[in-house]
């Protein structure tokens, strides 16, 4: 069995052409992750450029309205570029630069990771090309233009289902074509080892901060941490430093689209089975022959047929639970948070808000729940308007 396992999940199921590059990446990461200069430089970027630490905001009105646990929002939406994606991207871009790379490629779903990668590339003087499904370039046109403004080239991927998984396919194809000067800045805790570990480590800043912040605010750990899960980067980042705190419930919210009893969803844990795809063994939405299923969600960022291998493992051992949230529930939560707290969350993050609305009352008033608001919702406003039958232009 290869490296990078989380229980039976993970591994390095990738072409021979990329194997030596993955080995080099692992060696570089193992070296720099404990290198003081590298960490100083990264922390400097986090604090002076990305706007870290992000706030842990006590949502008083929401707490009173839901009538149970105190609700805290981990405000990753306040980061530069508007989501948690910048945490991973700054880490990987800096690592790539140390490895002598001059070009970053990335896949993107909603466009948040693409924007973050384009941003880091601009800042660090690197070339950048982003692969994005044609369906997503259409529904997230603003983010496409944003990436172009930042100097990146955006490829609209027209193969397969023309969404996130196809963007990953084409980014992998491009990387195997050109590795010597190019780093594939993978956006989630997925893909072949060492990506799930690298991305998790860079995103774990979320729970490192949140754990200290909640202890400061409440004097004790939260009852639950809730985050949305596509590939699973903001959620693993939100969970990671609480994994050893056995009394803290970890809840991942998957996209149930039109419902998990329809064929229009992306609920990998609820409806998927074990498979091997995109470099990793994990759970995937697939048919009886192992053909990857077309998935659906109103949220482009959760519209992915797999889940990171560490989540698959946390599910297997029962340490985290994964629940499906429909489009309708997410849109309701999107509007709810906007009106209640004056915070417009990304439609991805709204899946986590929806779950909190369901369960907050099951907890007592001296308990707390942290919801990761992984991104801001500006990008989704036009789509939500369309969902509600309001015709506005981006």
């Amino acid at each position: 069995m290869g490296k990078g396992r989380f229980g039976i999940h993970g591994g390095q199921y990738i072409t021979e052409t990329l194997m030596n590059e993955l080995i080099r990446l692992e060696e570089a990461y193992e070296h720099y992750k404990n290198d003081k200069d590298f960490n100083d430089e990264l922390n400097h970027l986090f604090n002076t450029y990305a706007g870290r630490p992000s706030l842990l905001y006590y949502a008083d009105k929401m707490t009173k309205d839901l009538g149970g646990a105190k609700i805290y929002l981990k405000r990753e939406d306040l980061n530069h570029t508007g989501s948690h994606k910048i945490n991973n991207v700054l880490g990987q871009a800096l690592l790539a630069k140390k490895m002598g790379k001059t070009r970053l490629i990335a896949e993107t779903g909603a466009g948040q990771h693409g924007v973050a990668t384009a941003t880091a590339a601009a800042l660090l003087d690197m070339e950048c090309e982003v692969f994005m499904g044609k369906e997503d370039t259409d529904r997230q046109a603003l983010n496409v233009y944003r990436m172009e403004l930042l100097g990146a080239k955006v490829h609209a991927v027209t193969t397969g289902t023309m969404t996130l998984k196809d963007a990953v396919n084409d980014a992998m194809r491009e990387w195997s074509n050109r590795v010597s000067d190019t780093h594939y800045c993978l956006g989630s805790v997925m893909g072949p080892h060492p990506f799930p570990t690298i991305v998790r480590d860079f995103q774990s800043i979320i729970s490192k901060e949140a754990r200290a912040q909640i202890l400061e605010a409440e004097g004790k750990l939260p009852a639950a941490v809730i985050a949305c899960v596509g590939g699973g980067s903001n959620s693993i980042g939100s969970f990671y430093n609480f994994i050893e705190d056995k009394d803290v419930e970890l809840i991942g919210c998957e996209a149930a689209g039109l419902g998990i009893d329809t064929d229009k969803h992306a609920a990998t844990i609820a409806k998927g089975s074990i498979g091997i795809f995109h470099g990793m063994k994990s759970y995937f939405c697939q048919d009886e022959y192992g053909q990857i299923a077309p998935v659906y969600s109103i949220s482009a960022g959760l519209d992915y047929p797999g889940i990171g291998p560490e989540h698959a493992y946390l599910h297997d051992i029962g340490r985290a639970q994964y629940v499906p949230i429909t489009d309708e529930e997410a849109v309701d939560a999107f509007e709810y948070l906007s009106r209640t707290e004056g915070i417009i969350p990304a439609i991805e993050s709204a899946h986590a808000v929806a779950q909190a609305r369901k369960i907050a009352k099951n907890y007592s008033k001296d308990q707390s729940i942290i919801i990761c608001i992984s991104g801001r919702g500006d990008k989704d406003v036009a789509a939500i308007a369309r969902y509600r039958g309001v015709d506005i232009h981006d």
Partner: protein, 261 residues
């Protein structure tokens, strides 16, 4: 029985020509016909692709063939059905080419037992590198199926480690990137083949990008054979069910070139 693959390379000049087509493109019946036609044209072994929804090692031509085949209702079971029909008429050596997920999902034991029953002697899985092959290699070999080792332009120091366990034949990937027709090859293939020959006497064939008799001859002259996929799949894409005579003509020209290598 893995020795059977070795026999593929026991031609007059010790060089083999190995064409590839996607099973079920455009339909199962045509695939049977195309395979028999390629045998008649002199193919030494035929690589049969079991389509996958997300073939990340393929260029556009074979990606589209996968989509056509899946849209036509192709499954792993119908791929075995195609082989059954071929086996009723021919003993041409066959290898499967697919991705690891369809095999994993079918069940390694069940899949390779079926391969043994139908005399499919090798499998090529581009997304299963040496490091991960442990979970299926023993099962495959217990059913006399060789899991083909792939070597690429970036393998470098890995050649020694990877080649020592090679069975059947070694697939040398000619270039960076994915499958698809190329006009030139920048890789120092002589050096790679020489490094391989220092490690193993398992035959090696070169694939990725080969589309002309001249290229096939050159590749076969530095190795033990040439593998051609996209150029044939392109003929199928163009002529559909009527592709047989064009495939015959192309494969014959390629085999003749390889025989002169």
């Amino acid at each position: 029985m893995i020795d059977k693959i070795k026999k593929v390379f026991e031609t007059e000049n010790g060089k083999a020509f190995i064409p590839f087509i996607t099973a079920g493109d455009p339909d199962a019946e045509s695939t049977v016909k195309f395979v028999l036609e390629m045998e008649r044209a002199g193919a030494d072994m035929i690589e049969l692709g079991i389509p996958f929804s997300d073939p990340t090692a393929e260029g556009v031509v074979i990606q589209e063939a996968n989509i056509r085949a899946l849209k036509g209702g192709m499954t792993t079971d119908t791929a075995f059905g195609i082989v059954e029909k071929i086996r009723a008429q021919s003993e041409i050596p066959l290898a499967f080419m697919t991705y690891i997920n369809p095999v994993f999902h079918y069940g390694y034991e069940r899949f390779f037992a079926k391969c043994e029953e139908l005399n499919v002697g090798a499998i090529i899985l581009p997304d299963c590198p040496y490091e991960e092959s442990g979970e299926l290699k023993d099962i495959a070999e217990s059913h006399n199926v060789a899991v083909v080792t792939m070597i690429s332009p970036t393998s470098d120091d890995r050649i020694r480690r990877v080649a020592k366990d090679a069975k059947g034949f070694i697939y040398v990937v000619s270039s960076m990137g994915v499958t698809g027709v190329r006009t030139e090859f920048n890789t120092d293939l002589d050096k790679i083949v020489t490094a391989l020959k220092n490690e193993t006497d398992v035959p090696c064939a070169i694939g990725f990008g080969i589309s002309t008799p001249e290229q096939a001859k050159r590749m076969a002259s530095i190795s033990d054979g040439a593998i051609v996929g996209s150029a044939i799949v392109r003929i199928v894409a163009e002529h559909g069910r009527d592709a047989a005579p064009y495939i015959y003509e192309f494969v014959k020209s390629m085999k003749d070139a390889v025989a002169e290598a």
